[in-house]
Subunit: 483 residues, 2 copies
């Protein structure tokens, strides 16, 4: 029994240690959460003065409690959420208090017996209608809290007004304390280490795009480690393909709620009042699309025992263009992520990287076309064809992300870098990261051949392309024509 | 100007009509929402009696307002959510009130000057710590409301206790009114047309699985309409592939929150107290996986202008097994959905449908193997190979869903149907829906050949299978051995 209780104690100790580590991690990952907790404590303690400080208590009496209530329900982590709740609460309280006072006077007209009946019916009707209104999606996202507070204030004013004769003074006291509580929250939230929802949204989306780049980079190197992969080695190859891209899948809800909160924030720093938050959501959606292509890639790793000579030799043939394409697209993604994070106009580098990615895919096609394989061998390389098809999807998706970020840059007035001058661009090409495109094999090649009704040299491959990527190619065409 | 104002009026009228239609739709889609609104109205009106009814007002005084507050914040749509908030609120209020009274006595010991300082410091420390605790994910999902109410009650009791000498009476009144408000909510929520979160979760998941079936069924017929598809016809072909499967993607958040709420619900009807809600979430996750495969299929519709004779003639060859596989898997999905909805043990039909699906895939392979195509032609049919690869993924995924639902059926004690007796099963095979499996080509064939180290007749195809589906085949093997 002694052992029993000591093992229970041991388990409890483990549990406590685990929780403590968890808490420490949350604090280290985002120290603003610790600051936020202290801010709430300060706001609450300040508003306690309504009770502790005699002159205030004489002025507001028991209504001081509403300042505390307001702080607890309104103070949220981001400035946007605090503003949203504060403004919702303020306007709902004002409107409901006015209507409540009106209802009280209406009740007075019905005499002593009639008053509770009339007030009861009014409360019932308003509560039922407003509860139903909360189900409307547009109201739910933006004004849910306001509607709740409206029901609360209206029923409190009418119901307790039945017992109070000085209803105006009562309403006035309550409105002032709610206002003071709300203003305290907003001031502390904005002035002390503000956590802006807009910035969080921007960082979240930039981080997700960078993670897509990490995964793609990992794929480029991991996919071709197979020749030597055996058993646990293949597990390692899979480990080399980072699953970072999955974070894009899980951030939809956060993105939506951050964008709603950001809509309530006033201009600050480089963010204007009407910053194009919906455009961030569009970019986030495209990042999720790209992540789904990366997920499709991940199923092409399970070829452990299959040391098929044909597949392996073919893989080594496509290694160079594949790796190049992954490398170039990764750089494009990272440059896009950087542009979002620093709010600077997307650098012309990105277009170069995309062009190089397309050129790499073009080279891939050439390898496919020029390889003389028997019927049996062709079946074996179908997985490679599938990988190629997905890589084309990814390049198209990165292209869409890039366009969407260009649009964002226009709408949000990102600062233009000076790299726009011809000399700077020249310099960029010589920096070594960007491989200049070979002029003899223009990047529009894939496409030009696909739309050509009479393909010249390799009809079989164009048809494959046409079959799988007809729609996507159409996009590329417009692209090339513009570029 | 007259026209201007009339056009503004017209716009406003349109807007109002639109909102009215929206509201009508919400009410018609789920009449329980209208009932819920009325229930909230009734609960609120009942609790107004604390003010209207003299004996009650004499007993509780101003504290009656807490009953109203409790109703407004606790009454949620589902029974589970109401119970969760009610119990959170009750236990947090009780604990915080006790601690608040303790803090008040501690303050009393410090004298008149010291009391506000000590109370202020206590409120600050507790508010800061508890606000930080709200960031811990496990607390956030289940106890967030309880922690908020704890901060609220603790600061209210200590702060307003500073001005009240009868703190015990004060705490007692408040606790009673909160309890009465909470009990009203729970009783009305449970007794009048209850909306159980558990049932909603079950219906949501069953509906999502049925929608997967609809989409798959649509694919089976739409994919082979291509031969005659031209321009808008192809748009129609795409319309024939219902996008129903997408609803699985969007219901992750609802599933999670319904499962959390369902965890608070007591046993009712066929749901026991500890119903295996996590298992529903697992099934939901697999449904999302299946939906992602269906999404991958949707990209193989854009072959409009491509009237390649080879592809078309090949398509017509694979039409029969493909359609059969879609048909069989659709029936499996619909039977699984029915089993969840009716809480009955999954019918043995499902396994038959799955076996038939695998047999269809096997036939598909035979078509691939036996077709004598030139190198050029092989490139053309790569899209068909990709479709086949995805269809195999889908059958495997349906298999996983089926296994997961079997597990659910065990854990949740679904009622067994009498179809288990041999005669009933015999009858089932003769009902005509299930095509009995040809014993000469057992469904484990695909797999058996794949694991065979020395494939006899068609090494090229097995390698393709091996390359793409090695891992999945391993699962099938265990399957076949058991079955």
């Amino acid at each position: 029994m002694g052992m029993d209780s000591s093992s229970i104690l041991g388990k409890m100790k483990d549990k406590v240690v685990e929780i403590a580590k968890n808490v420490e991690k949350i604090g280290r990952d985002d120290p603003r959460k610790i600051v936020h907790s202290a801010k709430v404590g300060v706001a609450l303690t300040l508003n306690s003065l309504f009770y502790y400080y005699d002159p205030l208590y004489e002025g507001f009496g028991q209504s001081g409690i509403w300042a505390l209530l307001t702080v607890i329900f309104v103070f949220e982590f981001t400035v946007g959420a605090t503003l949203s709740k504060g403004l919702n609460r303020a306007s709902a309280t004002l409107l409901a208090a006015a209507m409540g006072v009106g209802a009280k006077y209406l009740g007075d007209l019905c005499g002593d017996k009639g008053e509770p009946v009339v007030l009861g019916i009014l409360v019932f009707i308003l509560a039922a209608i407003l509860t139903f209104i909360r189900f409307i999606p547009g109201i739910k996202t933006k004004y849910d809290y306001g509607v709740v507070i409206f029901i609360l204030t209206f029923s409190m004013v009418t119901v307790s007004g039945y017992r109070t004769e000085q209803i105006i003074q009562f309403a006035h006291q309550r409105l002032s304390t709610v206002a003071i509580g709300g203003v305290t929250c907003i001031l502390i939230s904005v002035l002390v280490c503000p956590a802006w929802a807009g910035e969080d949204l921007q960082n979240l989306i930039a981080a997700n795009i960078e993670k897509l780049g990490n995964s793609l980079e990992g794929f480029g190197s991991a996919y071709f480690r197979f020749p030597e992969a055996e058993g646990e080695e293949s597990g390692r190859a899979k480990a080399l393909f980072p699953q970072d891209y999955k974070s894009a899948f899980n951030s939809k809800a956060s993105e939506d709620s951050l964008a709603t909160c950001a809509g309530w924030e006033f201009g600050h720093g480089e963010f204007k009042f009407r910053h194009p938050w919906e455009q961030y959501l569009k970019v986030g959606g495209l990042a999720r699309e790209c992540a789904s292509h990366l997920q499709a890639l991940s199923s092409y790793f399970n070829t452990t025992d299959d040391d098929e000579a044909t597949l392996l030799s073919f893989k080594s043939k496509i290694e160079e263009p594949c790796t190049r394409m992954c490398f170039q697209s990764t750089h494009a993604l990272k440059a896009i992520s950087l542009a979002i994070k620093t709010m600077s106009h997307p650098s012309p580098e990105i277009q170069d990287h995309l062009r190089n990615s397309r050129a790499a895919i073009n080279d891939l096609e050439v390898v496919f076309r020029s390889s003389s394989l028997s019927t049996e061998m062709l079946f074996e390389i179908i997985p490679c064809a599938a990988v190629m098809s997905i890589l084309i999807d990814i390049v198209n998706c990165v292209d869409k992300i890039s366009k969407s970020v260009d649009e964002l840059s226009e709408k949000a007035d990102f600062k233009k870098s000076k790299a726009k001058s011809p000399e700077a661009q020249q310099q960029l090409l010589h920096r070594g990261i960007v491989t200049p495109v070979n002029e003899d094999s223009p990047e529009g090649d894939v496409v030009a051949v696909t739309i050509d009704e009479t393909p010249q040299d390799s009809p079989e491959f164009d048809n494959l392309q046409g079959a799988i990527h007809e729609q996507k190619s159409q996009e590329l065409i417009t692209d090339v024509k513009i570029g």
